[in-house]
């Protein structure tokens, strides 16, 4: 993995500090051109990886990247699935089973299984999960997407319920069908790491908050540091600035000295902040290639 990954919260009106700023960003980025302008700044600064939600609008970005292979020869995506709002809305509209049926191929066996009154067999549940994953991956066909994440709300819901077998289904399917590395976003990294190991998933790629002040590091700061030191996890650090609470230089310097952190993911919309973060990562973590 690259040492620095570019995130997408800023493009979709997600801001953990202010609803006003979130709305201003949503306005600014409602045209794909505005998103591409910022991605181009990041790409030209040497940040080749875009870690993004499987939001419908990302398909506009993948289309543009595919349309200009010369310009974007090193551009790669790290998809993060699912885009939860799509499913939440479908569940509100159609109910749980109805929503799933909406997403299955209309004449397939799985749609039929969901129509029936019989309880679903385990292999049917697995099949449905695989179809959902494939659907989310569709927009990335023809691009480079070497690492695929599960979004934190979904990871943590499965983790909390103890439905950890789902991670194994995801892990196997991403490797076998999509030839990519499965990865996980979570707000509960130490607990997730234990759960993944119990499913036989070794040295997983896990993206979680990792920052000097312990902001949203659920499970405890010390448990995070222990996990990193143990060498059991390939960590991607997010919220390294703790929503602006830590000065940039201090934040990156601190991260760079942690064992186990392979990458940092950050979001920014100004050229200054993008180049600033890139320069700090180069300075403390070695040149990003």
């Amino acid at each position: 993995m690259d040492k620095l990954l570019f995130g997408d919260n800023q493009f979709f009106g997600i801001n953990h500090m202010s609803e006003e700023k979130a709305r201003a960003q949503a306005m600014r980025f409602q045209k794909t051109d505005a998103i591409m302008d910022v991605l181009d700044v990041a790409y030209d600064a040497g940040i080749n990886t875009f870690m993004c939600t499987t939001h419908d609008r990302i398909s506009d970005v993948t289309r543009r990247v595919k349309a200009d292979p010369a310009r974007y020869s090193n551009f790669q995506f790290y998809p993060c699935m699912p885009y939860a709002h799509k499913y939440a809305n479908a569940v509100t509209e159609h109910g749980m089973v109805g929503a799933l049926r909406e997403f299955m191929p209309k004449d397939g066996l799985l749609a039929t299984a969901l129509t029936g009154t019989k309880a679903l067999a385990t292999k049917e549940v697995d099949g449905i999960a695989r179809v959902l994953i494939d659907m989310e991956m569709k927009m990335f066909a023809g691009t480079r997407a070497p690492v695929v994440f599960i979004q934190n709300v979904f990871t943590d819901l499965l983790l909390g319920m103890g439905f950890t077998r789902a991670f194994k289904i995801f892990d196997d399917h991403i490797r076998e069908k999509h030839g990519a590395e499965p990865a996980y976003i979570t707000m509960n990294m130490p607990a997730l790491l234990d759960a993944l190991e119990k499913e036989g998933i070794e040295r997983p790629i896990i993206c979680s908050n990792i920052n000097k002040i312990g902001f949203r590091m659920s499970g405890g700061y010390d448990a995070y540091l222990d996990a990193l030191k143990s060498g059991r996890v390939r960590a991607v650090a997010m919220s390294v600035y703790a929503s602006g609470a830590i000065p940039a230089d201090e934040a990156i310097h601190w991260i760079s000295e942690l064992p186990g952190v392979e990458s940092i993911v950050f979001g920014a919309s100004s050229a200054g902040n993008i180049r600033g973060t890139k320069a700090l990562v180069d300075k403390y973590m070695g040149e990003v290639v």
């Binding site: 801001n15 159609h94 819901l157 909390g160 103890g162 439905f163 312990g214 949203r216 659920s218 499970g219």
Partner: protein, 364 residues
């Protein structure tokens, strides 16, 4: 009581699933799941080690529970809470509490008589920014509050669609119960039950069976007047957004999920860090991590408080007790009555204007 709390999460819909995940991950909880409907229960029972029940009566009869979390459709809250309290089981109930506030009052009394922990899931009281707003109000930060605006907007019903319990008024669906309940519960926290409700409008935008937008004017004796403006058919918001603005004689307060902004005309004793002019505090700096994070600290925090209170044998009051949720149920009943009859509900004494200071001969 052993130091583990035996707790059943009943109802595995949108809220119930997330409650279940958080409770199940809690180190002090021994968790059981219960839901009548087929699909989710079928899938879970084959994939998790937690015991799963398909019948509530069966659950209560067979398990010696310390606590239940009730997250079923609102219509079922009253009978299910009653059954749990009758068996001496502590209860956490999803909001709104009961559709008939007489039930809410009765169950509040029953829980109190039995000395049980009885909590309702109004999670906004656990959002750092709103808790800070409450602290500032109680400290008199903005003086005498006269002017209140309480709002909530979000994208729930964006087109005509088939009815689910959430869009059926008789089941406790609709914008009033689902959305407006939250800002109203915050107003109840700050000012109590309103003495008068007037100008209420429960409007339909897309739904046939229930309301999609709510307006109301609430008044408190010798207290503020509040305008309520709520709409769940607003696609411009990514998810539910609740905000409260207050104007008082010494300034203005604003809070939403992310931040609490205060404008003070002059500093107030006992409020460190709040000077003249604007002070902004963010939820991120006002919030502590709990054992598990799923979708916001407030959801974890309310369940953590509940489980810890049960584990402590019922000592100490919890936030969002049944009595406080009964205030909200009563407020919503007043709004419905006002909207249906067009008559003001209750009466409120107007606040007298602040008397001018007596001026000396040369005073200005």
């Amino acid at each position: 009581m052993s130091d583990k709390v035996k707790i059943a999460v009943v109802g595995l819909g949108k809220m119930g699933l997330s409650h279940f995940a958080m409770v199940n991950a809690h180190p002090r909880a021994r968790t059981i799941a219960c839901d009548g409907s087929g699909f989710m229960i079928d899938v879970l029972s084959k994939n998790i080690t937690t015991p799963v029940y398909r019948d509530y009566d069966d659950l209560l009869a067979k398990e010696d529970l310390d606590a239940v979390v009730i997250a079923t459709p609102s219509r079922l809250h009253a009978p299910m809470v009653q059954a749990a309290l009758d068996k001496g089981i502590n209860v956490f109930c999803e909001k709104p509490f009961c559709l008939n506030w007489a039930d809410s009052q009765r169950l509040t009394d029953l829980a109190a008589a039995k000395g049980l922990i009885a909590q309702v899931g109004y999670h906004y009281r656990y959002v750092g920014a709103f808790a800070e707003m409450k602290r500032l109000i109680d400290a008199g930060a903005i003086g005498r509050i006269t002017h209140v605006m309480a709002e909530a907007y979000g994208p729930v019903v964006l087109r005509p669609k088939r009815t689910t319990w959430r869009t059926d008024k008789a089941e406790g669906g609709g914008c009033l119960y689902d959305y407006a309940a939250h800002p109203l519960n915050l107003l109840n926290w700050f000012f109590g039950t309103p003495d008068q409700v007037m100008g209420s409008h429960l409007g339909q935008v897309f739904s046939e069976g229930t309301d999609d937008e709510v307006f109301s004017t609430l008044r408190w004796d010798d207290g503020p007047t509040a305008q309520l403006s709520v709409n769940w058919s607003d696609e411009s918001h990514r998810k539910m957004s609740t905000k409260i603005s207050l104007i008082g004689t010494n300034g203005r307060l604003y809070a939403d999920r992310q931040e609490c902004q205060a404008y003070l005309r002059k500093p107030v004793d006992g409020l460190d860090g709040y000077d003249t002019g604007w002070t902004v505090k963010y939820t991120t700096e006002l919030t502590q991590d709990r054992w598990f994070y799923l979708r916001g600290e407030e959801y974890s925090a309310q369940l953590d408080d509940f489980i810890e209170a049960v584990a402590a044998g019922g000592a100490g009051a919890v936030q969002n007790d049944f009595a406080s949720a009964t205030q909200t149920d009563k407020t919503m009943a007043m709004i419905i009555e006002n909207a249906e009859t067009g008559q003001n509900v209750g009466e409120a004494r107007a606040m007298a204007p602040q008397p001018a200071k007596k001026r000396g001969w040369f005073g200005r």
